[in-house]
Symmetry: D2
C-alpha cells in the first residue's frame, strides 16, 4: 500500500468518463464548449464572478498568479516550508522574472498576521530593499493543518492594509473545506483572497487544476502568461471536461471527505504519535528507530519526513480495510 502522496492515486472513474465524452471535434485551445463553461461553473460555485483557467499543474497555477501580482523587483511572502519555496524548483523566480520569496516561520506551515507584519516591518522602504507585493498561503498546509475562514480573513485584512495581494495555494483546499465545513466563498474571496490555485489532481483528478481569479481584471494578463509559458494546451476540452466532472454533484467535496476520513481513522489509531493535529488528509507520525523499516517490510510505503518522522497521505480511494490494516500495523509497532 502506497501512502507516498495523493498524486500517486488513480483518477476517479467519472473523470475518465468525462474525458471520453469530450472526445469529439471542437475548437482548439480554450475555445471549445467545455472550456467556455468554466467561468460560469466556477462563478456559481464561489457565488461571485470569477475567471477560471485550466492548467495542468499546481506549480503553473501558483506561479501564473504570483507573476500577475508581483513585478520582478518586488517580493512574495510565504511560509519557509511552502510548496512554492521548497518543491517547485524555483518556479516563482522563473515566472516573475526574479522576484524574491521572503520566508516566514509558523507552526505547521501556517502563516500568521504577526509574522507577516514583522517581516514587512523589517523592510526599509527604499530602493535598496525589495518591497513586498504579495502573500501566498497554503490551505490545507504542507503539514495537513487547515486555516479557518476567520484566519484567512485576518491575513486578508492585513494584506489589504499593507497593499499586498493574497494568493492561496489550494492544492488541498477541498480537504480544508471538507474539514472545516466552511464555504468556499468564506474561505477565499470573502476573506480577501485575490487568486486561488484550486487543486483537483491530488483529489481524484487526472491532469487538470484550476486557477481561479477573483480579481477578474487580471484575466487577460493571465491568459497571455499561460500561453507564453506553454500551458495553453491545444485540446483544452479534455482539461475543462475534467474540472466540470469534479464539480458535478460536488465530487470534489465527496473525494476530499473520503481522504480526510481515512486520515482521521489513522490518527485515531495512533494519537500519541501525531506530530501535528490531523485536520485534512495528511498524517505525520513520530517513529522510533527501526519502526519505519518495519512498517515498510509489512508492505506500507511512505516518505520519511525529517528525523524520527514519517508522512502518510491518504487518497480519495483509500478504503476502510486498507486503513484499518495500516492502523493495526502502527498500533502493533
Amino acid at each position: 500500500m502506497r501512502f507516498f502522496s495523493d498524486n500517486a492515486a488513480p483518477a476517479h472513474p467519472k473523470v475518465l468518463e468525462a474525458i471520453a465524452a469530450a472526445n469529439r471535434l471542437d475548437t482548439a485551445y480554450d475555445g471549445d464548449e467545455w472550456s467556455r463553461r468554466l467561468d460560469g461553473a466556477f462563478s456559481d460555485l464561489f457565488g461571485t464572478e470569477v475567471r477560471a483557467f485550466w492548467v495542468t499543474t499546481g506549480t503553473a497555477a501558483n506561479s501564473l498568479a504570483l507573476a500577475a501580482f508581483c513585478p520582478p523587483y518586488r517580493a512574495i511572502l510565504c511560509h519557509k516550508d511552502a510548496h512554492i519555496e521548497v518543491d517547485e524548483a524555483g518556479a516563482p523566480g522563473f515566472f516573475t522574472g526574479g522576484a524574491k520569496l521572503v520566508l516566514l516561520d509558523g507552526e505547521g506551515a501556517k502563516v500568521t498576521p504577526a509574522a507577516i507584519a514583522e517581516a514587512c516591518g523589517a523592510i526599509r522602504n527604499d530602493v535598496h530593499q525589495v518591497q513586498p507585493a504579495a502573500i501566498s498561503i497554503t490551505n490545507a498546509t504542507e503539514y495537513g493543518l487547515v486555516y479557518r475562514a476567520s484566519e484567512v480573513a485576518a491575513i486578508g485584512g492585513l494584506a489589504r492594509e499593507l497593499g499586498l495581494a493574497l494568493h492561496m495555494d489550494g492544492a488541498r483546499l477541498a480537504n480544508a473545506i471538507a474539514s472545516t465545513g466552511e464555504s468556499l466563498a468564506d474561505m477565499t474571496w470573502r476573506s480577501g483572497v485575490d487568486a486561488l490555485s484550486f487543486g483537483f489532481v491530488k483529489n481524484g483528478g487526472l491532469s487538470a487544476e484550476a486557477l481561479i481569479l477573483f480579481r477578474t481584471e487580471l484575466a487577460d494578463e493571465i491568459a497571455v502568461r499561460r500561453k507564453r509559458a506553454g500551458h495553453l494546451l491545444s485540446k483544452g476540452r479534455f482539461l475543462a471536461a475534467q474540472l466540470l466532472a469534479m464539480l458535478e454533484g460536488d465530487l470534489w467535496l465527496e473525494n476530499a471527505r473520503a481522504s480526510n476520513a481515512a486520515a482521521a481513522a489513522l490518527a485515531k489509531a495512533a494519537p500519541a504519535r501525531l506530530v501535528y493535529p490531523v485536520e485534512a488528509n495528511e498524517v505525520f507520525l513520530k517513529v522510533a528507530p527501526g519502526e519505519a523499516e518495519r512498517l515498510r517490510s509489512m508492505g506500507f510505503d511512505f516518505y520519511d519526513w525529517g528525523p524520527g518522522e514519517i508522512r502518510l497521505v491518504m487518497s480519495w480511494n483509500d478504503e476502510g480495510p486498507a486503513i484499518e490494516g495500516l492502523a493495526a500495523a502502527i498500533a502493533g509497532l
Copy 2:
C-alpha cells in the same frame, strides 16, 4: 466540417484506451512505469540513445530545448513565419530569459543554408551585437512543405561549422516522415538535429507531446527546466501512456499517412488553386472574392490566411467522403 486545425480533431481511441489502462496507483511525477519506459521506446524508434520527455504542448517542448541551447544573451535563428516566432506568445523569450530570434526569409517557411550563412555573416563578432547560438527549423513547415533529410543535413552541417545547435520543431514531423518515406534517424540526429519537439497531439494524440534530446548530456538541465516551468505533471503516467500508445504499431505513422492522403486528395481536386505544393496535411488555396464565404455557407470551416488565401488542415480521421465533399465543393466554386 471543420478544417481549422488538426488540433480540433478528436484523439484516437487507442490513446484513450491507454489512458484508462494507466489509471492505477503508481509513483508520482515521472517515476511511474510508463514514464520510465519512454527513453527506451524512443531510443528504439530513433535507432540511437535518446532522452525522451513528455510535455503537454509543442510550445513547451520548443522553448525548453531552446533554453538549453541558447543563453539569455545570444540568439536563435528561425524563419520569420516560424511557429516559435508568430504563434507562441514570445515563449522563447520567456524560457531563455530574453534571447533574441533572428528572422530569416525563405519560400514556404523553409530555412536555407544560404539564409543562415547570410544572417550569421551580418553579425559582427563583438559584445555589442547578439551572437547566434542555435537554429530552429519546422518540419513539416508552417505552410505544409517538408524538408528532405538531405536538406536537414545541409543545415545541420552548417550549424556544426558555425558552432550552433540545431532544433527541429516537429509538430507535424510524422507528416513529413509519411511524406518523404525517409527514416526518423536520417531526418533528425543523423542530419545534425540536437533536439526534436516531436508532435503527437495534432496527429491523434490527446495531451502528450515528446521532447527528444539527442544531446543526452543536457537531460538533467531539461528535467529541471521542465519542473521549474510547471510542466512536470504529478500524474505523468497518463502522458507517458499516450506516447507509448502512439508508438505501438506505428500508430503515429498510420495517422499521418491518413491526414496526408486527405490533403493529397484535396490538392488533386484543385491543382490550380494551390499556393504551395501539398507535401503534408495542410492545403493552402487561392480563392476569389466571395468564394471563402460560399464554402463556409456549405458547412466547411477553415481559416483565412492572408488576402485571397485560405488554409485547410486535414486530420487523422478525415475520411474519404468528407474530403470528396469538400473537393467537390471547391471544384464547383
Copy 3:
C-alpha cells in the same frame, strides 16, 4: 585624426571642473545636493514637470524606460537598424524579461507612422501573438537624419491612438535640436514622447546620461529598476554634477552646434558622395575600392559601414583645420 565615434572624443573641460567641484563629502547614492537639483533643472529645461535620472550609459537609459513601458509578454516597435536592436547586446530583452522587438523598415533609420500602422495591423489580437506596448525612435537617427517635431508628433499621435508608449533614444538629441532649431519641448513631450534617453556623453560629457520621464508616475518604478540593475552609483553626485554642467549656459547645445557644423563642412566638400543628407554630426560617404585605405594612410580613422560606404562622426571639439584637412583629403581622392 579619429572619426570613429563621438564617444572617442574627450570630455569638455567644464565637465571635469564640475566633477572636481563636487568632490566633497555628501550623502551617498542620489541623496546629494547635485542629484536633488536634477528634477528641477530638467523640468525648467523642458518647460514641464519631469523626473530626471542620471545613468552612465544610453543602453541603461533606453532599457530602463522600455522595461517600465513594456511587460515581458509584449513588444516594442523600432527600426531594424535602431541602436537598441543592433548595438546593445540585447539589453531590452534583458531588462524587460524577454519582450520582443518588432522591426520596422524606413529610410535612414527613420520610423514612419505608416510602418507602425502596418506592423500593428499585422498582429492578430489574440494570446498567440505578442501584442505591442511601445514604440522607440532615435533622434538624430543612427544614420544622422533628424525627425522634425511634427514628425515626432505624428508618431506620438498614432502611439496614443494605438495605446502604445513612445520612447525616444536621444543619444544625439542635442544634434537634432541644433539642426532643427526646434524646442526640446516640441520635440519631446508636446509631441507625445513619454520618456527620453537624453545623451550627453557623445556630446562632450564624461560618464553621465539622463533618463527623462515625462510620465512622472513611473518614477518610483524606474528608481527601483535602476538600483536593481546596478546603476545606482554610490557617489552619484559626480554624475549629477556633470549633467548640471552640461545644462549650464546651454553647453549641450553649443557642443552640438560645433559637431553639426563640422559635419556640414565635410558634407559640403563631398556632396556627390553623401549616402544620406547630413542633418546632424554623422557623415556617411560612398567610397570607391581603395579609397578608404588611402584616407587611412593619410591618418584618418573611421568605420567601414557596409560595402562601399564609410562613416565619419564629428565631435564637439573637431575644429576647423582638422575638418578642412579631412575635406581636402576626400576631395583629392
Copy 4:
C-alpha cells in the same frame, strides 16, 4: 561630521588627477589604452593571470559574477545579512534570471563551512528543490569583521568539494587586507575564490569598481553580460584610469589603513560599547536611549542599526582630530 558611509566621502585627489590625465581622444568602450592595461595590472597585483573588468557599482560586479556562476534554476548561498540579499534591490535575481539566494546564519555576517554544509545537506537532490551552484561571502563583512585567508580557504575547499563556485564581495576587501596583513593572493584565488568584486569607491575612488575573474574562461561571457546590462561605458578610459591610480603606489592599501586606523582609534575609546570586534573600518556601538540623539545634536551623523545600536563608518580621509572629537563625545555620554 558624517559617518553614514564610506560612500559619502570624497574621492582621493590622485583619482581625480588620473581622470583629468585620461581626458583625451581614444578608442571608445574598453578599447582604450587604460582599459587595455587592466588585465596586466591586476594580474601583477594578484600574482596570477586574471581578467579585470571595470564596472561602476559593487552591485553590478557582484551580480555579473553570480550570473556567470549560477544558472537561473539554481541557487547561491550567502549570509542572511549579505549585501546582495539585503541591499541590492534583488539584483542577483535580475541578473541570473531568477536564481534563488539560500540564506545562512552566522555571527557578524560571517559564513562558516558548517553552515554551508548544513544548508546543502538539507537540499534533496531532485528536480523539485533548487540545487546550489555558488557561494558568496563578503570580506570585510557587513559588520566589519574580516575573514582570514585560512577561513576563506576552508570555505573554498568545501565549495570545490560540493562543486560550487566561490564569489567574494570585496567592497571593503582593502580593509580586510590592511587588517590581516595577508596577501591578496592568499585571500582570494589561492583560497579558492573564483571571482572577486574588488571595491574601490568606498575606499577613495570615484566611480570605478573592479570585477576580477580568476576563472578566466568566463571572461567572454562576463564581457557580454556587462554590455547587455548597460554597464559598458562608452568612455571607459575614465574608469580604467581611476583603477590604475588606486593601484599605483598601493594607494588602495594606504587608504584602507587610514580608515581602519580611524575605526581602531574609535573602538579604543569605547571598548564596552562594541557590538562586534572592530577589525576593519566599521564600528557598531551599543547606545542607551537618548544617546544617539545627543551625539547627533553634537554634529555627528550616522545610521541607527537595529534597536540600541548605531553604525559609524570611517573613511580614507577621516583624520585624527575628527576621530578624537567623536571619541571624546562618545566617552562623555
